[in-house]
Symmetry: C2
Subunit: 545 residues, 2 copies
Amino acid sequence: MIFAGNKVPVFFVEVAGLNDKWKVILSDRTAGEIQLDPLTKKICLCLEPPSLKDNRADVDRLREALGHLVGPVDVPLVLMRKVPGVCRERDWAVTATVGPAGAGTKMIDLEAGDTTARHFGLAVDVGTTTVVVYLVDLGSGEILGTSADYNAQAPLGEDILTRIYLSGSTGGLAGMQEAVVKTINGLLAGLTERCGVAPDEITAAVVSGNSTMIHLLLGLDPGLICREPYIPVVNLPGLLQAGEVGLQVNPQAVLYCLPGVGSYIGGDVVAGVLVSGMHRRKEIAMLVDIGTNGEIVVGNEEWLAACAGAAGPALEGGVARAGMRAEPGAIEHVRIDPKTGKICYNTIGGNLKPAGICGSGLVDCLAEFLLNGIIDRSGHFQHGSGSFTLVPAAESATGAEIAITQTDINNFMRTKGAVNAAVETLLEGVGLDLQAIERFYAAGAFGHYLCLESAVTIGLYPDLPRERMIRLGNSAGEGARQVLLSNRKRLEAEEIARRVTYFELNASQQFMNRFIGSKFLPHTNLDYFPTVKARLRERGLLPDD
Amino acid sequence: MIFAGNKVPVFFVEVAGLNDKWKVILSDRTAGEIQLDPLTKKICLCLEPPSLKDNRADVDRLREALGHLVGPVDVPLVLMRKVPGVCRERDWAVTATVGPAGAGTKMIDLEAGDTTARHFGLAVDVGTTTVVVYLVDLGSGEILGTSADYNAQAPLGEDILTRIYLSGSTGGLAGMQEAVVKTINGLLAGLTERCGVAPDEITAAVVSGNSTMIHLLLGLDPGLICREPYIPVVNLPGLLQAGEVGLQVNPQAVLYCLPGVGSYIGGDVVAGVLVSGMHRRKEIAMLVDIGTNGEIVVGNEEWLAACAGAAGPALEGGVARAGMRAEPGAIEHVRIDPKTGKICYNTIGGNLKPAGICGSGLVDCLAEFLLNGIIDRSGHFQHGSGSFTLVPAAESATGAEIAITQTDINNFMRTKGAVNAAVETLLEGVGLDLQAIERFYAAGAFGHYLCLESAVTIGLYPDLPRERMIRLGNSAGEGARQVLLSNRKRLEAEEIARRVTYFELNASQQFMNRFIGSKFLPHTNLDYFPTVKARLRERGLLPDD
């Protein structure tokens, strides 16, 4: 979704501009706010060598010296075993790596001499489809390298529900865990080689993902996530050890998973809130992350509420007749000239012949169809035709025409309706309407590539002044990086997870009612979408008031 | 040393009486003072079942409920995996076992229903020769069973120095660790079967032993213990996990080793101090634990000082021509009628024919020889003979006579001299002399079986009013049990280890000087031993003043 081939351009925060000309801002914008205080620390010590007058034991000597700097430190038995040798290797100059464990601090590694310049961590975004690994220099906060690949679970089960189901079979959970760990380790092997970093030098890893992905990574049975009352095994796994999961980093490395709120609001969404900063501002903001599920958070510094609705695979290009993943050859953007009716499109990967259409292309189609009177506000083709041809057979990569059918549109309308219904149920739950929203954040990969104007036109996003609409890009990965680099951010993430009130839509009758009533473009109430209303009127597609 | 066959009578504290009639006091004397607060706790909880209105995750729900009772609790990943199943097995009634970990608290196990009645721990005394395991009911503090066996390391290397040496060879350390773990697990298997306890129900283990034994148990290289400046890897290993060492108990069980002071003052001696209570009284006391090494602690509530001297194997019956371990058939006590010269002895195991003589028998011999004028105060036979026959060949189990030679006595005098020199060097170090000692504690197995009067006669123990001389029995095991049953005792043990000032005799010239000058019976200065002086005079073995 977020990459073509294996090279991933990663921009953490984008500010939406007008007319789809996005001003790309690198992570500095947020990273600039972070005081570097990484999950693990390296401390170089010159210990007093033992003598007859000072015959403290090696580990006790080391622990005392560290204690003066960071308080009591727990030394695991496996490290005790190497302390005498390491201490004597460079004449009692050692570098200890320490990190949080339970309520205290533990030693993660001990090296001879001063190795403080070599201090590395991982931020990992485990998506249902894609896994992204960032290798981070914990001394500078700099990203040394990024690598992404499909989650190797996907061939076992395309969507989350299938994977939960398969985890219940014999060996299923172990297989799912193995697959995602294999994916991460594969990416890691490439990154460490490319950057000249030894796996043992990586002493911290922060992972964000939805609740099911975190369960599968940790080998926790996700079976109860999809059954009423929808209960995860854990929302806050806390501080774990990388070796317990099989990550090929220092086996003692701290492993932290961003905390989730519930079965369908996971650490990836909490990462989005963290990166947006909406939990620290007075203004009321909305964050939307649309993938297979649509996750919505509303709130400000005083309160936060969230819900999730099954968006279905329509937006991922999974069900449209000509649909495909956001891979090279997929049509990602479409424009129709209102005067000539000429269709312009572009494909991922440059000038490749189109092979199909991905989610962002479908959103564009729906918006353009509406703005050109090809479909009406209820999503029906106006001229009796059952489909609309985007690319004739002769121009396509497959030799078959690429067309959008009425069925495709109907599926898409259901997805959009689900998102709208979720938004409105949530707003009603907190006693607000759409006009109360002062700022909008689009999180996740889909939000990253989607044309904002098209999303507003079809009512997927609210119709706010565009400078108040912000794309967070891969906020799951960026949130993981921030937590990796700042213990304050880690506590902030936990605070967010605790503060969010979770509305369970699976059991909401209101949601079902709204779902049925929300399948209009952009909305039953056009006044909520003033710019769309104006454009439709401009084009003569609305009767005068 | 402390058992005949495999059955061990275990009495923790004995008070020395007059004329070798010991009043045996069971552990209640000290245990009565302990407020039961075991290393691990079992807590039964009736959790609120999850619902749409209360959709907290299982682990978080459990952690919150526990948090109200014991503060924040860390749940290891392996336990998270079983939480959902266990919670639902008995309708959300569960029993959590928790214990200290680092600076906080961790969960050790979770069981369905109320299992608080079944809560067990181990106290283990790992001696160089013998390992004793106590299975303790942590709910009542009661000892359910005791079992002892030779340390399986012994066949690999008889004494400590040999084992340290062997640990340096390839696979040597692993072999030593395996041997002692095998010994403990073997004893454990018998105990758990006999008492109907499942290994997983044992959630805490406290071990005491000398520093080398603890190093070998934990797989820590003891190589530097015997090389100047004599530095252990660790004196305070802290809270470990039983599974890391391979003990066949609950793999998450807390493993705690009593802290040591230095290479030659280990957790076994700290256990002795803890059991004696000398660290909490105003009176100045001395504790002596004689085995292969002689360990001495002097002090009171304000200060504690300790040293150790290599006593050598003479007291263990290892070098005398007729010497043997304290096993069935060993002569353990000897008396010579001053009038008739008739020799009385008794053997371990009842009326067995004597096969040799063990350490306590040798001490009796030396005392009786002195009191009957057979040797003089410098340990030389008086009548030109090179040996003294205790048992003629016809009466012995082996068909060879059992005799004490001048060489045996010389070896023994060296050992006694080493202990005396250590005592005096230590006393000089703290600015006191023998007469300042107000109370005396005999710790360890040797001190348990030794005839107190004989030990005083030869000057191994000081000449105090007998009611001020207390035997601690297996204080290493009892100390471990107290720490298992009381967190306050654990902190007290750590406080003792921190407070003790350690005098390293290996490097002391004073010690060498005293060693050479201290080979008189009972002492060069007879005024330090008034009762011995009186008896010698009574028998006409001293010139009048």
